[in-house]
């Protein structure tokens, strides 16, 4: 998928919920094989209202409420995808995804490969993730590492409405299975101009959100806006990479940037141990070691279960944590 945006098109201020909703509707109008499946996505319009109005427009055969079983949902969706339907299942909370790990591992990521390419699984799993809305335990998870560790699936993670529109359209149209991460904190907290035209964005290219010379700050999802805030506050010229796609990783963009700046901080909401920051740090160590002026630092969540409402802010990475990491790396001396 290419970046098909035109530069001078009309835009409207929208949040992520509206953008997801409108993009789903566009794709369903474009292609009769696109069907949504999940819980509470029908008449109620989704617990976050991302599917509001779609049941009325497209009916119960295209917007399908299912029994309450993540594994049954995913397994049924894979079977439909094997038969040429373009299924978009919604996992209402990433913390409840784990019962579906069987179908994820056995069929969703494997069917294409073990059939020698004979079977496609063209589905886009909308995975609602992330913390920061006082949603309580099991409702705030960022365990994308489980997905990224597994070959055979793209993992796409928009940082805001404008990116989400092109990435979601591209994901639905793509013949590879995709997990499309939607951070629920982004749903309503931020509006930005979103082009009215339909467009796709590539599913393997990071975005340089800001260019800079002193330090590369790698981030994705809800952390990108915190990264921008941190970059505004520090006394350094920070380059921000919004990864957009976590699998496959855009290593070229990462290495090119780090070789230029010589310093790097990876900034993610997920736990630290074997979080994607570990992989990025390893790759930078392997291929840009002699360009580094300082060790790579990781500003992340802690290695704990996501805490309760009263203390979740202390867990969540914020601009201040990113700022500390940037300052530490900038002040490092061999």
């Amino acid at each position: 998928m290419n970046d098909t945006r035109t530069t001078d098109g009309e835009t409207t201020e929208r949040n992520l919920v509206e953008t997801i909703n409108r993009t789903l509707a566009d794709e369903m109008r474009n292609d009769a094989s696109v069907r949504l499946m999940g819980y509470d996505i029908g008449p109620i319009g989704g617990v976050y209202r991302t599917t509001e109005g779609l049941y009325d427009e497209f009916g119960g055969d295209r917007v399908i409420d299912t029994p309450l079983s993540e594994n049954g949902l995913l397994g049924t969706a894979v079977g439909m995808a094997m038969r040429g339907e373009r299924i978009v299942p919604e996992i209402q909370f990433m913390g409840f995804f784990y019962p579906a790990f069987g179908q994820f591992m056995y069929t969703l990521v494997k069917m294409h490969e073990r059939s020698g390419g004979a079977f496609d699984v063209p589905m886009t799993v909308r995975m609602v993730c992330g913390g920061g809305i006082k949603a309580s335990e099991y409702h705030s998870e960022s365990t994308e590492t489980f997905l990224v560790h597994t070959p055979g699936v793209r993992v796409v993670y928009p940082s805001g409405p404008r990116e989400a529109k092109g990435l979601l359209a591209a994901s639905i149209r793509h013949d590879d299975p995709v997990v499309f991460m939607e951070h629920k904190k982004l749903y309503r907290t931020h509006r930005e101009p979103v082009p009215e035209e339909e467009y796709t964005l590539p599913l393997d290219e990071a975005r340089i959100a800001r260019t800079g010379e002193d330090l590369t700050l790698i981030s994705w999802g809800a952390m990108v806006r915190h990264a921008e805030t941190a970059a505004d506050r520090v006394d350094a010229d920070v380059e921000i990479i919004d990864l957009r796609t976590l699998s496959p990783l855009d290593i070229e963009t990462v290495l090119e940037s780090v070789k230029k700046t010589g310093r790097c901080v990876v900034f993610h909401e997920a736990r630290r141990t074997l979080g994607l920051g570990a992989e990025l740090t390893a790759v930078i160590n392997e291929y840009a070691f002699d360009r580094l002026h300082a060790p790579v630092q990781r500003a992340t969540g802690y290695d704990v279960h996501f805490p309760g409402n009263q203390i979740e802010e202390a867990y969540l990475p914020d601009p201040e944590r990113a700022q500390y990491a940037i300052e530490a790396v900038m002040n490092y001396e061999f």
Partner: protein
């Protein structure tokens, strides 16, 4: 040790053909040619698996799970399908695959451990392909079941009169996938047929350790799905009930769950040794209820076959198997780089780099000397 493993007496089920080959119910109205074809399929399956076992002993095949003694169940079920239907099998349904002409060569090269890309590239183009659509064989037990529901739901929503049929063992009815799939199938009322091939053993664990239900069939009741319990070693009983189920599904009547009671008279697979965990007495009891022997006795009695036709049939079968083995042996060993194929479309830095690393390793060169990420020299 009991002579069967389930809670309910094994022989409390629907039967047409008694173990001695006599009729106890009205047989399905099959032509003589169709009867001979069913019989030939059983014989071919058995002799093919005998051959594969020899190849396994000789190191040419890595591992095989045989359906010896259970041939009537997958065969009767698959024979109820029509061209264009779908079948999502596990690894012990070979007679069903053979019936629909999944090429023996393709099955053999798969057993030899070749990558699917190698099989597609090197098998002759003119092999007859099946008229029924087969998914890849599923190995994680139960994972085929939700996919079958999806396959059937896709047909239903598109108004197609296609049927999806799948299999589950006695053991894998304990998997969550089984319950989730039957639940979804009932709720969406999909055109699917679920066949429980109850061979009474999940490797070393007997059926009564899988469930406290009196039968497996009755599990369908919990999901609002019509169910049957049949003699799985009786080709007529299996075919008749499967045909009813397939016809009902095709006509909008929804899913069916059929328990076929059979017995795994052989090992789970070639890495297994059943004498460690079960008595010979039980096996002998079930050997007397062999599906091929009883069908053969019936066909001989009815004059559909005779000793000469059996001889001629066996010669033709062995010739066909030998031909398949030769063709399979001609397929070259898979190239290592094929491991990277068909993961994601397009390419990525990591894929390219790891391909290059593997190639260097194969060439006897150090794959760890790229310090810039820009490639090797």
């Amino acid at each position: 040790m009991a002579l069967w493993s389930e809670q309910k007496p094994a022989e409390d089920f629907y039967r047409v053909l008694a173990p001695d080959g006599t009729l106890v119910n009205e047989p399905p109205g099959l032509e003589e040619g169709e009867l001979r074809e069913l019989y030939r399929t059983m014989k071919l399956t058995k002799r093919f698996e005998d051959k594969a076992l020899k190849l396994q002993r000789a190191g040419e095949v890595s591992i095989i799970s045989r359906c010896r003694g259970e041939e009537a169940t997958p065969l009767g079920a698959a024979a109820a399908l029509e061209p264009g239907d779908w079948c999502l099998p596990l690894y012990r349904q070979r007679s069903g695959l053979v019936y629909w002409n999944v090429p023996l060569e393709r099955q053999l090269v798969g057993l030899m451990g070749a990558e699917p890309e190698t099989i597609d590239e090197h098998l002759p183009d003119d092999l007859e392909e099946p008229d029924v659509n087969f998914s890849p064989i599923y190995v994680p037990l139960g994972s085929n079941l939700p996919n079958t529901v999806g396959s059937a739901l896709a047909d239903k929503l598109n108004g197609r009169d296609t049927v999806s049929l799948t299999f589950v063992g006695d053991g894998s009815t304990s998997e969550g996938d089984f319950h989730e799939a039957l639940n979804f199938a009932g709720v969406f009322d999909v055109p699917a047929v679920f066949v429980c091939q109850n061979n009474q053993w999940a490797i070393s664990v007997p059926a009564h350790r899988q469930t406290a239900s009196e039968t497996f069939a009755q599990k369908g009741d919990a999901y609002g799905i019509p169910n049957e319990r049949v003699d799985g070693n009786d080709i007529f009983a299996v075919y008749e009930k499967a045909k009813e189920a397939v016809d009902r599904a095709r006509n909008g009547g929804g899913p069916t769950f059929i328990e076929c009671v059979t017995y795994r008279i052989v090992e789970h697979n070639t890495a297994d040794e059943p004498s460690v965990y079960r008595d010979e007495e039980q096996r002998e009891y079930w050997l007397e209820r062999d599906p091929i022997d009883r069908f053969e006795a019936y066909l001989l009695e009815e004059g559909v076959i005779d000793a000469d036709t059996i001889d001629a049939m066996e010669d033709a079968i062995d010739e066909r198997i030998d031909e398949a083995v030769e063709i399979a042996r001609d397929v070259p060993t898979s190239s290592p780089e094929l491991m990277f194929e068909n993961h994601l479309r397009g390419t990525s830095w990591k894929e390219r780099h790891q391909r290059a690393e593997l190639q260097r390793e194969l060439d006897g060169k150090n794959p760890f000397v790229d310090w810039t990420g820009e490639g090797f020299e």
